[in-house]
Symmetry: C2
Subunit: 691 residues, 2 copies
């Protein structure tokens, strides 16, 4: 992959050479050129390296195209050298001052631990933050893969070493941007303040660099600027988010206390929503849905409309947002590596080169042996322009398709999650399985975002290639011949084969009509086969034609299955393999395992139940228990056992709540028994995650 991108990058050099040559050649008269070319061909046995290019003409002709060499005031080395220590210091300060003081005052003498980057299984409010930081990280990764100096401190590395540095850079960048996330998780105004400063620094430095040097020689002059755009936008978002949080933290201290457990309001909303009495939907049994309305409902699956009492989990939202950025980066790379180069070729098209096309019969000409005139040159340019249009339109179509499929998969995710929350496991996985963590499922959960991004990239690439080929075929076999009246090969074939098509259509209709009027008893229901002897005769007589019909059906089967797989490639929520062997599809398997963890670890009802328990304890003025521990689930059972005994009425209330919740959520049942066994075995070690 990395190698491939390098090759792509390197090809720019050769294309520049071609462009130069084209420009230089323009100045030589066409007669001279032709003679020169023939001599070149004639003497190829004498000259060893005749095919190695030696520039002809003055390279200064290209002066206007050359990108000005640009010196950054703050180069990347300096930027990283200054920001990396600052980030490290911020991380240490936060760890020492905030976290230890706040969470574990008794652990003061211990070694300070790392801050959590984000509680991926719990957080439902700070989605913007996570998306912004992961967006920066992913865009850096895209820039990094194409870069010659992947690590900022080591410049001019050899090709051999470059691969090592690239792999090292894959770990450096996450660490470099780590404080941007960590500043928010401490949920303290010092953290917000430091986050503010850090994001402003990053943002200002990046913008400064890009304003100073907007152009770069890599791939396309503005490619670097455009590929940095998501980073700058994400940093700008962070630069606004942190100050906002800081202001909030000063404004409403009291308000924050109630919302200290992240997402508490959502979990309660969810619980309220599922406990409300439903107004029974109008029964539509017996009324057959119309074709139009079923089409409408199908189209509606592509539009994700938020529903009350349900939020997409953080990891899913993150994956889909990253997939969108990935699509942007891949589309940009494709566009920047093709369009400018083909424009150079089009601008430098000469009559000599047109002669080649004429010789091969691609461009029609009255006298193919003579040197082509302006008309042929214009046609050649028009053809190349058509190619450009095809490329851009196929890219647009494939981007649209990928976005639609991502939107559709959001709807599918919601449906699947709702089903699993209800305990309808077989409806989602088509087989029964236990929703509990295993090694495989945890690894898949970790990899899910990466997989979603890669699949979106690959899907865009494949779709673009296939659609490009299809559109080019359509253009040059149908549109261009219709415009110019030449190269009517396809039409000729179709016309020659018309008895074939006619036979197929007529025999298909004939078989249908015969069955409808002659072989199917039409008077009463259930319909019955009649006139059997004639039926067998028709079956026998139409056998050869049905083989040909089968060929058409086979081609259609091939096309539809290929198209289906290509279009649905970016969706992880469906298998590309057929029913029964779904588990061999790595994408679908990862998704299923991901769902298991998501449902078993952050079931909204379970969370809401834990919150209710915590609130009840805080009502009892148990100030020693910090609410922040809720997310770690460490101390609940211990404090419960040491807490003063609750009154009989309160106990009953809790038990009733439990029973009601369990009845409505049978998927929680298996966890209960295990937790109870644990609680009796070692009373202090129970965890909050098993109510």
């Amino acid at each position: 992959m990395v190698r491939l991108l390098e090759i792509l990058h390197g090809s720019r050099y050769y294309l520049d050479l071609i462009a130069w040559e084209i420009k230089a050649n323009r100045e030589m008269s066409s007669q001279e050129k032709l003679r020169d070319g023939l001599e070149l061909t004639g003497n190829f046995a004498d000259e060893d390296n005749w095919y190695i290019y030696e520039p002809i003409g003055n390279p200064n002709d290209m002066a206007s195209d050359i990108i000005p060499d640009c010196q950054l005031t703050v180069p990347f080395d300096l930027y990283h050298c200054s920001m990396a220590p600052i980030s490290l210091v911020i991380l240490l300060v936060l760890s020492l001052l905030v976290k230890r003081k706040k969470l574990h005052p008794d652990f003061w003498k211990g070694v300070p631990g790392l801050l959590s980057p984000m509680n991926f299984l719990e957080e439902t409010q700070n989605k913007g933050l996570a998306i912004a930081v992961f967006g920066i990280l992913f865009s850096s990764l895209c820039v990094l893969l194409l870069d010659n100096d992947p690590l900022p401190f080591i410049s001019n590395s050899s090709i051999q070493n470059r691969e090592y540095w690239k792999m090292l850079a894959l770990l450096y960048y996450p660490a470099f941007y780590y404080p941007l996330l960590a500043c928010a998780t401490v949920q303290h105004r010092v953290g917000y303040l430091l986050g503010c400063l850090l994001s402003w620094c990053h943002c200002v430095l990046y913008i400064w660099q890009k304003v100073e040097c907007p152009q770069s020689p890599k791939i396309y002059r503005y490619y670097s600027l455009l590929s940095y755009l998501p980073i700058i936008l994400c940093l700008a978002m962070l630069s606004l988010w942190y100050p906002m949080k800081l202001v909030e933290s000063f404004k409403g201290d009291a308000k924050m206390a109630t919302e200290k457990v992240p997402g508490s309001s959502y979990y309660e909303d969810y619980l309220k929503h599922i406990l409300t009495k439903r107004i029974p939907k109008k029964s539509i049994n017996g009324v057959k849905p119309r074709r139009l309305s079923s089409l409408q409902s199908y189209l509606r699956t592509f539009v994700y409309t938020p529903q009350k009492g349900f939020q997409i989990p953080l990891k899913l939202a993150l994956s889909l947002a990253m997939a969108v950025i990935a699509v942007y980066q891949v589309a940009l790379l494709l566009l920047a590596s093709f369009i400018p180069n083909i424009q150079i070729v089009r601008a430098g098209m000469t009559k000599e080169m047109t002669a080649l096309f004429v010789q091969f019969g691609i461009i029609p000409s009255k006298n193919p042996a003579s040197i082509p005139g302006d008309k042929e040159l214009a046609t050649a340019k028009h053809y190349i322009w058509s190619l450009e249009v095809c490329f851009i339109s196929s890219l647009v179509v494939s981007c649209m398709v990928t976005f639609c499929m991502l939107l559709k998969s959001m709807g599918n995710h919601r449906t699947n999650l709702r089903c699993l929350y209800r305990g309808a496991v077989e409806k989602v996985f088509y087989r029964s399985c236990k929703l509990q963590p295993s090694q495989q499922s945890l690894v898949c959960w970790m990899q899910f975002t990466g997989f979603q991004i890669s699949f979106a990239c690959l899907a865009l690439l494949i779709q673009h290639i296939v659609f490009f080929i299809c559109i080019v075929c359509f253009t040059f076999l149908i549109v261009v011949p219709l415009q110019s009246g030449s190269n009517m090969h396809l039409f000729k074939i179709v016309v020659n084969l018309w008895p074939f098509w006619l036979t197929l259509i007529v025999s298909f209709i004939a078989q249908n009509l015969l069955v409808h009027y002659y072989f199917l008893e039409r008077d009463h229901l259930p319909r019955e086969l009649t006139n059997r002897r004639a039926f067998y005769i028709v079956t026998y007589m139409f056998f050869p034609i049905n083989v040909l019909l089968g060929l058409m059906a086979g081609i259609w089967r091939m096309v539809i299955s290929a198209l289906y797989n290509i279009v649905h490639f970016c969706q992880l929520d469906g298998s590309l393999l057929s029913h029964g062997v779904e588990r061999f599809d790595p994408g679908y398997r990862t998704y299923c395992q991901y769902l298991k963890i998501e449902v078993s670890q952050s079931h909204p009802v379970m969370k809401a139940f834990c919150l209710l328990l915590l609130r009840w304890q805080s009502d009892q003025n148990m100030q020693t228990l910090q609410l922040r521990d809720a997310e770690e689930g460490i101390k609940l059972m211990k404090t419960t056992s040491s807490a003063p005994k609750a009154s009989k009425g309160q106990q009953n209330r809790v038990r009733w709540c439990l029973a009601y919740t369990l009845i409505n959520n049978p998927s929680l049942l298996p966890y209960r028994k295990g937790a109870l066994v644990d609680a009796t075995a070692n009373g202090t070690k129970g965890s909050l995650t098993r109510p």
Copy 2:
């Protein structure tokens, strides 16, 4: 398709020209040739049509390769002109003398109807006959599509008209071979005698023709002979089958009477089999199947072993046999159109042509500019030989795969039919649906055989192309470089990228180990996620590497889904689309509709029940009712109503039989009510097919 085959056919001409040229060129000294070639290139502007071939050298050199012109004693025209009227006469004689006399003596004055070619829904004994005649028909179709004179009576037709004649021939050939089938369906010794004579005539004439002229100039000298082989074999089979039946008819008149209703023994066997008490299988609950045994059971699905009390229906057996012939024909065509031509090219390889390969760097040479020596020529020939080997091995592999899949689908057909006979509709179609004839299902039933054949052809073609590309890549990127030590491009890329592979593997293992030992609570079941903060940090830090891992998974997803679809293309019993959209796959839809008709019209229990009823009636000495009417199901209800009343005991016995059958076959229930309603509404019009 037809056009394509013609192009393929035409290409042989150009290749012959090339072969001639190669042979002629051998005689010119290489120095002369080089000069000649350069002059040709140098002067291409002067000579308009320099690229049009003019034969150099003496064509007599090819004398040994030229196919001797051969005159048939009985040409095809004469053969068809004589056999077609004979067939027609036989058909008329059979219709008039046998059928009318035997079935409807009261209809003697009516117009004689056509004989039924074969009772495709009922016949379970004469599978060999049907397969032989359809084999002849399909092989004729293959020959016909490549032929210049598709209809035997019209020779030297223009290209324009040829297409019409081809389409007309698609109806002529089934009619021409019709009597071969019809002679058997009358089930009378006159029919067998005529069938005997007819099949002997066909067989002797074909063998005579092929012995006289084994070679033909089309595609490959022995192609015509080999493509006629299935026809001759099928005719030979018929020539043995008819005499056997004739002898049987003379031998045991009494024996025949009991078996007059075709397949009666099978239906009774089936009924006996399902009514026998089952010995309960040893319960294997709790014992987990071993990996080896599950592999064994998977491999066993590819081997179709006949089971007692079940026979594959005629139409399915026919389709699979035809698919095998189709695979033979396509493989033969591919082999004959590639191997002889590439052998000609290999034999005619010269040093001048090797120079081209050397220039392009395909063949390694110490001095690429000089004229290549014997070593380079040998290398070039070795490369072309490798290409041949690749082609043959890919063809063998794809044939094997197609056969395996056809065998596997036979097993699937049996499983599906057994399920449907039991009434387990949802297990087969994944949704509930009524098993009764409809227009679509009848048309699909008619087309099923044609579809199966075409899908097998296309599957072989696609598999061959894909496997050929894969094997060629494997050979020239891995095997040949390892042999010769040159062109190590792939190895260089892999070596350059090894930090990348190492990172991926190490990070994958690291994530698994971390999850196993650190994030998964290992002490008790169900296992629980622990160390959440570290888990989130690892998730964040490994994000960029997981994107790269995702790329690999995405490529794997692409490969596995493409491979799966290609391998399973010939199977109609599975959809290539994923769960929920199966119905858009034309192959799978046809198969489902086919199953509906097969189950609703020839349910073995229903047939057995009808047979029991018929036998009971014949026991009552109702000689007026002919047993032969059973297959048409016309007169049963009428005769029942007019029959003398059965005793109370017999009625009870029949009712008990009915109840028992219906309990064991719930899928028959829906038919019962309809039949009863019909019977009361119009007593005379009930049909036997609804007991």
